[in-house]
Symmetry: C2
Subunit: 163 residues, 2 copies
């Protein structure tokens, strides 16, 4: 029973690591050269602070996820991992929200602020940002599952011993 | 000792409730009529999906924070509160990030997307959004403190009993 659980959480962590790593790579590699009335310009993720934040957050969470994979199962550090999981889930969720907010303006524009949608000009760039968002979102769901699982296993002994 | 801790967490929850409630109110009441070349238009929070999300998230967290204030200290539901605190902190953090991302574009614009800064035209509106963000941020910090405190008190008995 204990072994199945360990394999289950390890699989979740592997998938979370893969998701955040691919979110980082897809976002970093997103760029497109668009031409607009004979003026050509390049759009990159680094033009938008929210996208830079997304890359940094996903890179940090990927490094953390990679390191945790090699933590031996007897280590006392696992108690710290619950707190760290929480902090990094928060970081991931906040970076996805910021990116989503900007991507929504890019797709639909904002008429009251006079911001026009730009996805028509740079469709490939928009698709890549959407892909990065989906990957980041999958990573977030994995970390949420891990967190709920940790809370479940932590609360169980407390419920049994009735403090 | 137990009583001091209870008063401390109650104070934190009261402050968190006050912060998220004021964030909601300040954001909902934010609007400004700007005139631009004899054309006058009104900007409201509901023009921007990210701001609507901010209002909804802060309202939900306020209601939750209000209800928790009346939970008797002997209740078994406190174990659930840890998980709920986590979920609502995530919600709050994500709404603040989305709002911050849009507010940053409003303040500085985004030259690669051709979005111009709008805070020059609607300074009062911008100040209100900033105020709502600050209040939301204070609420987030309170909830983070509560979460870290919960994790600390939950992990402590586990460390002592050495499972």
């Amino acid at each position: 029973m204990g072994k199945t659980k360990r394999i289950f959480t390890l699989l979740l962590r592997l998938m979370a690591f893969a998701a955040t790593l691919s979110a980082t790579i897809v976002m970093v590699s997103s760029h497109e050269t668009a031409s607009f009335f004979a003026v050509s310009f390049e759009v990159k993720y680094s033009d938008t602070p929210a996208f830079k934040y997304f890359v940094i957050a996903n890179a940090i969470v990927s490094i953390y996820g990679f390191l945790v994979l090699f933590l031996p199962s007897e280590s006392l550090l696992w108690r710290l991992v619950v707190a760290l999981d929480m902090v990094f889930t928060l970081l991931l969720g906040s970076s996805i929200s910021a990116t989503l907010a900007i991507a929504q303006v890019g797709k639909k524009g904002n008429s009251s602020a006079g911001w026009l949608p730009v996805c028509g000009q740079v469709p490939k760039y928009c698709h890549q940002v959407t892909g990065a968002l989906v990957a980041g979102f999958i990573g977030l769901i994995m970390y949420l599952l891990l967190l709920l699982y940790s809370i479940h296993t932590i609360l169980n002994p407390l419920l049994l011993q009735k403090t």
